[in-house]
Amino acid sequence: MTDEDLPEELASGERRPLARLLTRIEAGDRTLREALPALFAAGHGAHLVGITGPPGSGKSTLVNALIAGWRAAGKRVGVLAVDPSSPYTGGAIMGDRIRMMEHAADRDVFMRSMASRGELGGLAGTTWLAAAALDAAGYDPIVIETVGAGQSEVEVARLAETTVVVEVPEMGDEVQAIKAGLLEVADVIVVNKGDRPGADRAARQLRAMLSTAGGRVERKPPPVMVTTATTGQGVEKLLQAIDSHQADARSPDQARARARNQLRRAVSDAAWRSAEASPEWETIVQSVADRRLDPITAAEQLLEDRA
């Protein structure tokens, strides 16, 4: 089995080759380099749907309900669920599966837990490559669930075509709705736990504040909907909102913005690999450690050497 066969193995619908590939991607396995162009070429252009929001807002339960809807429509669904790694031990507990186990045995749902492994934007550094692997394996849509996010973990919006921000009725007052950050990147806003008091009021406040926008960023305000993920209430409308947003997300401007983000990742990875492979690497590390050279000049030297 060589990497040349990877696209074919992924297309077979077998889970094991995909699962092994994701492990190699997560580990930063450089022997995969040769196989990556074919992997991207094998992609079908799946709809990438980001799900983000605070811890405990019901993201995983909502994803579970969305999977059921997409499965009823005959779609094969991929899920990447990211949970935080410990900054001290590197360990992690990933519990997103607990809410989704009813789909575990469904051959047309592939769900993978990823630890953030030191990244702070709400995703892991390799999530975008993992999404490319799921795309090559024919899953569409692909859901990317972030770590429980506060206000500024907006990395998912750079990767996903459609970003759903999940809030709860107790999210706070109107000022929360006009702060910069997470709500700003939402293509769809969900007030989940709609069976709790105040859900409709929170949704009304969000709508009112978001429609007063009209700042530098010209875009129509995102729809705000109320769901109860545990009962499925409102999920049908959310599915429609996500599906209908896909067309907007495919505009040339949006496509370029996502390409720019992919390149940002790829360029920094390539620069890093190149710098590290430099014969000067250890010498320059020592110079920076000894404070004889500043890291910015060092980086420029390393990259110039390799050019």
Binding site: R16, A19, L22, T23, D29, G91, I93, M94, A115, L129
Partner: protein
């Protein structure tokens, strides 16, 4: 592809699952938390799992180790069945261990059925972590 040197090994991935119908997952959660603190990536799947669900989850997650916690007394039915399903999915080198209330008389039979080790009450997290590091298919650094 990441900022890590190629030689650095990734964390060991462990699936902690509770097969069967007993509703007590305190031990499983304490273990999950303890392994997290030992640097493992732990995927916890929650209560009342069938062997099929556990095997399917392990396959998608490509874990190195499956830890089965069982207190219900149904271990002789559920544990060998889980081993069979995991191996059927081609995961030949995944370590499968069990913990919980399992009588000494059953331990030999479970090991014959492919359960690598059985951790009874009183086992420390450190002992389990050490065992996992020594026996996982992917040795940690």
């Amino acid at each position: 592809m990441t900022d890590e040197p190629a030689a650095r090994t990734a964390p060991i991935r462990v699936l902690i699952a509770k097969p069967g119908l007993d509703g007590h997952d305190r031990g499983a959660k304490v273990l999950a938390r303890g392994l997290r603190d030992e640097g493992f990536e732990v995927i916890y799947t929650g209560l009342r799992q069938t062997p099929e669900m556990i095997a399917d989850a392990a396959e998608q997650e490509d874990v190195d180790i499956i830890g089965l916690s069982i207190l219900s007394g149904a271990h002789m039915a559920l544990l060998p069945r889980t081993v069979t399903l995991v191996r059927e999915r081609g995961m030949d080198d995944v370590l499968i261990a069990a913990g919980g209330i399992i009588p000494d008389a059953d331990i030999g039979k479970l090991k014959e059925a492919g359960i690598a080790e059985i951790f009874g009450p009183g086992t420390s997290i450190g002992q389990i972590a050490r065992y996992f590091r020594e026996h996982a298919r992917r040795p940690s650094d």
